[in-house]
């Protein structure tokens, strides 16, 4: 029976592992044990993505040194931070601070997992659009760190001057195609199934087509859906024309648009700062300017703001707030984050210092006139239908006005009920 006793041993061993796994999945030690924390210092748990973690090393080091706090950084994929915070914060095991995008805020507030931050007078030191973006129902939820938006990038070899108007740009582009120097009049990357409302929004905005009405303080009003208004329907008509004329082409995905522009196949593309590195590597001489408006109003892009938010269940709210208001909001930190990710810093002083970088200055100038992407939870009901309807219009699957108004009615029904 030697064999059976070995089996028993193996069995107990496996059990030990199982229980260890359960215990590991458990919780930090009970509150009482925090008395054992190092004297004079707190602990701070921050969730952020890898880019920013690297950039912030110096600032966090300074913070640890000056306050005696131990900072634990948990690197997560940017997109998963929102869901993880939502599901884990209430258990008390979540982080003190997370890095997130401003358009998550509505959802996070609805779930009660982020706490407002009182920036005090420091709020005036940030770009107005960034504070506006981080504000939800009158309270600021986080310290803005970087600002990003799209703009028109043109290949200066094919188009030396910024276009005066949308028609001007299309005419130049088509002339280049006719002359054989380019293949596409303009490149806008969209998804063949879901279009890309984000990249097409500036064009929509220029027809006077906002998504939601705005309150006096600039925040969006979820009860005032504007997506079905007259300007938006005009945009739908224009989109159908562009689709038919192959100006907006459903086969050009974001990656293809980037690749083709880098290959010099088009004089113009509408894109963000994240693609510039590829263009530089490809040796394209480019210039950045505002997106020409096909409608009567300026073509304002959405501005996305990334910031540091405080968990409503933060075990160390005081240290966390000190870190946010004194260190993250400092010029040093904002510059470091900017250098780590090439996105314009939200702090005005750091933004001005970053003006020496022409790309940042140019994108920043376009973004300063942009509108913050809505951060209200009602946006969840908008994205899916918005994108699929746009692709139906681009591929000519029906009357654009009907498709668009049907979509607006459906979104209204979803939000209303």
């Amino acid at each position: 029976m030697k064999h059976s006793s070995l089996m028993k041993i193996a069995g107990v061993g496996a059990l030990a592992l199982t229980l260890a796994a359960c215990a590991g999945g458990g919780t930090p030690a009970p509150a009482e044990s925090s008395a054992a924390a190092p004297e004079g210092g707190g602990n701070l748990v921050i969730w952020m993505d890898e880019n920013r973690a690297e950039a912030l090393e110096g600032v966090i080091g300074t913070f640890e040194e000056e306050t005696g706090t131990t900072v634990e950084i948990v690197i997560k994929e940017f997109g998963s931070i929102r869901d993880d915070l939502t599901t884990q914060a209430a258990s008390g095991e979540g982080p003190d601070v997370v890095v997130g995008a401003h358009d998550w805020i509505g959802k996070l507030v609805q779930n009660g997992v982020v706490a407002p931050i009182e920036l005090g007078d420091a709020a005036a030191d940030f770009q107005e659009v960034s504070i506006q973006a981080m504000t939800y129902e009158g309270a600021v939820y986080g310290v803005p760190a970087s600002v990003e938006n799209i703009a028109l990038v043109r290949n200066t070899a094919l188009a030396p001057d910024a276009p005066a108007s949308w028609d001007d740009m299309i005419a130049n582009g088509q002339a280049a195609v006719a002359a054989g120097t380019a293949q596409f009049p303009v490149l806008v990357g969209i998804d063949p199934n879901n279009s890309d409302p984000y990249h097409l929004f500036p064009l929509q905005a220029s027809f006077g087509g906002p998504l939601f009405g705005q309150n006096d303080d600039g925040s969006y009003n979820a009860d005032d859906l504007q997506i079905g208004n007259e300007g938006n329907v005009q945009f739908a008509q224009a989109l159908a024309e562009w689709g038919a004329a192959d100006i907006i082409n459903e086969n050009i995905s974001g990656d293809i648009a980037k690749e083709q522009f880098a290959a010099g196949a088009s004089p113009y593309t509408i894109t963000g700062p994240w693609n510039l590195a590829t263009f530089q590597e490809a040796g394209i001489d480019y210039a950045i300017s505002e997106i020409p408006a096909p409608g009567d109003l300026p073509a304002t892009p959405f501005v996305g703001v990334q910031g540091f938010m405080l968990s409503a269940f933060a075990p160390n709210p005081i240290v966390a707030t000190q870190f946010l208001t004194e260190y993250v909001a400092s010029e040093e930190a904002q510059t470091a984050i900017y250098e780590g990710g090439q996105r314009a810093p939200a702090l005005t002083a750091a933004f001005e210092a970053a003006q020496s970088n022409e790309d940042v200055a140019a994108f920043g100038e376009v973004g300063a006139n942009g509108v913050p992407m809505p951060n209200i939870p009602a946006m969840d009901a908008v994205w899916g239908d918005w994108g699929t309807t746009e692709i139906q219009i681009i591929t000519g699957q029906g009357d654009p006005a009907t498709l668009w108004t049907d979509m607006a009615a459906k979104i209204q029904a979803t939000i209303g009920g």
Partner: protein, 514 residues
């Protein structure tokens, strides 16, 4: 029975001791968390484990216990938890319990009084607990606690440091380590400006600066209502997991409650959903059956071909065959997405000479496209399985049949194929169940699209039940609805379980044939 050796007894005791030590540690943690249910389960589990391994008999128990515990944790618990979630409204806006929701609503609506000054504060402790020692911008020093409204202090009783009050008679300033340990308490501390609540309170979030805040939402514990002090609107708990007024106005943050069978009934109650669901159900069956059938036929054909001794360099071909299987399916789907691109894709550009075939945007072609990709992903598995099964069929059977005058086709049809089916049929059923829920291929390749026109719900021509569930529960409407998702997942589970049970019964009949 041979007595167990001393050594193995010692090892057994040592391992059991480790198990118990971990259990005791976990129990302590759970005790302080006041998590009684898990603690109870843990205690019972530990007692059973000790009993099983210490008592002399119970040999089957000694083998089975580890497995049963794994089963309980990774299967039973998951299923029970999914069931539990399916009966709740858990999702965006209903994230935690009522207590948290109340705290969240009050916190979200606690705003700084516009234009109020910033006070330099020091956290102090007095007889009635924590208090704030505040220095106003004009130099006035005030002190107060949660019970005692802020009152000016006599300058002679105050110790100043750089114009900021750091200590006062009757109050002890908190040392840094105390400050750090009592952070939540300090963050929750509200020192009223006067006995009148409307004057607001002083609050600090960083223990350095304090501001005058006002709460615009007040929770009335006795009446269980939330009142908006700005316009006097009263929100009540009407049993829907949120605060709402009688005319339907709701507060964003709610809490988790039991909703009974609501989630299960939703697909049947909403008509616009029902009709779309039927089409999707038919396509889901077609997709799963066709995928399995095509993969099996192709895999079997290749297996027979490469099992033939006359074939040269079989090994190399076999390795090439397995390659798609080694590819992660989500990556393969993205690569195929590129290949299918109408204008730039390899298929149209190279294979069809720059043709304009809309592989993914035409309803029928899109269905064909996902099938092709799925067969490409799935045939290597069937190839491997069939190859193994073929090789396990004794050669004597073929020889005997040949001697009896059967030709190649007859040998295959009458002898090899039925034998092959006995061992592969259960795998075919498993494969069917897998493809029934093949989320990756569909979602990454077409996202369910192209969308069906004329249906208000976001349903596409290639949507499977599982992608439709994902869209319904997570992408449409007002956000993530974990309760609804769980309920729909359970409905799908019931469908698959029924089909599999019937299919397995049929397989048994197959075995009896031989």
């Amino acid at each position: 029975m041979q007595p167990t050796s001393v050594r193995s007894t010692l090892i057994k005791i040592a391992l059991l001791a480790v198990v118990d030590a971990i259990a005791v540690f976990a129990a302590t943690v759970l005790f302080f968390q006041e998590n009684w249910i898990v603690l109870g389960v843990l205690a019972v589990g530990t007692v059973i484990v000790n009993w099983v391994y210490l008592s002399p008999g119970l040999l089957p128990g000694k083998y089975l216990t580890p497995g049963l515990i794994f089963l309980a944790i990774f299967q039973v618990f998951v299923i029970v938890y999914t069931l539990f979630i399916a009966f709740t409204n858990y999702g965006d806006g209903h994230n935690s319990d009522k207590e948290d929701a109340i705290a969240a609503v009050v916190l979200q609506n606690t705003v700084r009084v516009e234009g109020s000054p910033a006070y330099r504060v020091t956290v102090v402790e007095g007889f009635e607990g924590l208090g704030l020692l505040a220095t106003a911008p004009d130099g006035e020093v005030l002190v107060g606690s949660a019970e005692q409204p802020l009152a000016p202090l006599d300058p002679s009783a105050v110790t100043l440091n750089d114009d900021v009050a750091v200590a006062a008679e009757g109050w002890t300033a908190l040392a840094l380590d105390q400050l750090l340990q009592r952070q939540r308490e300090i963050a929750d501390l509200q020192v009223p400006f006067s006995d009148d609540l409307d004057d607001g309170f002083l609050r600090t979030t960083d223990a350095r600066l304090g501001y005058q805040f006002q709460s615009t939402f007040v929770y009335d514990e006795a009446a269980d209502t939330m009142t908006d002090t700005v316009n006097g609107v009263v929100y009540q708990d009407l049993g829907n997991g949120q605060f709402e007024t009688t005319d339907g106005e709701v507060l964003g943050t709610g809490w988790q409650i039991f909703v009974g069978f609501d989630n299960f009934l939703k697909p049947f109650q909403e008509q616009r959903y029902g009709s779309a669901l039927l089409g999707v159900l038919v396509w889901t069956f077609a997709f799963a059956i066709l995928s399995v059938a095509l993969c099996f036929v192709l895999g079997l054909f290749l297996a027979i071909t490469f099992n033939d001794a006359r074939m040269r360099s079989r090994k190399i071909y076999r390795i090439v065959m397995i390659l798609p299987y080694a590819f992660p399916s989500f990556l393969a789907a993205l690569v195929w997405l590129g290949l299918y691109n109408t204008q730039f894709g390899f298929i149209n550009e190279v294979l069809f000479g720059s043709a304009d075939i809309p592989w993914l945007s035409d309803p029928w072609l899109a269905k064909l496209s996902v099938l092709i990709v799925n067969v490409w992903l799935g045939f290597p598995y069937m190839f491997l399985v069939c190859l193994g099964a073929l090789q396990s069929i004794p050669e004597e059977l073929t020889e005997a049949a040949t001697v009896d005058g059967a030709n190649g086709w007859q040998v295959f049809q009458r002898i090899k194929f039925p034998l092959l089916l006995v061992s592969t049929a259960p795998l075919l059923i498993a494969s069917f169940a897998f493809n029934f829920n093949n989320f990756n291929t569909i979602y990454l390749l077409t996202g369910g699209g192209p969308r069906i026109l004329g249906v208000s719900e976001n349903v596409g021509h290639t949507d499977l039940l599982i992608t439709l569930v994902y869209k319904t529960a997570f992408e449409a409407g007002t956000g993530r609805e974990y309760g609804l998702a769980s309920a729909l997942a359970i409905i799908i589970f019931i469908i698959i379980a029924t089909i599999s049970t019937i299919a397995f019964r049929q397989t048994k009949a197959l075995e009896e044939l031989n």
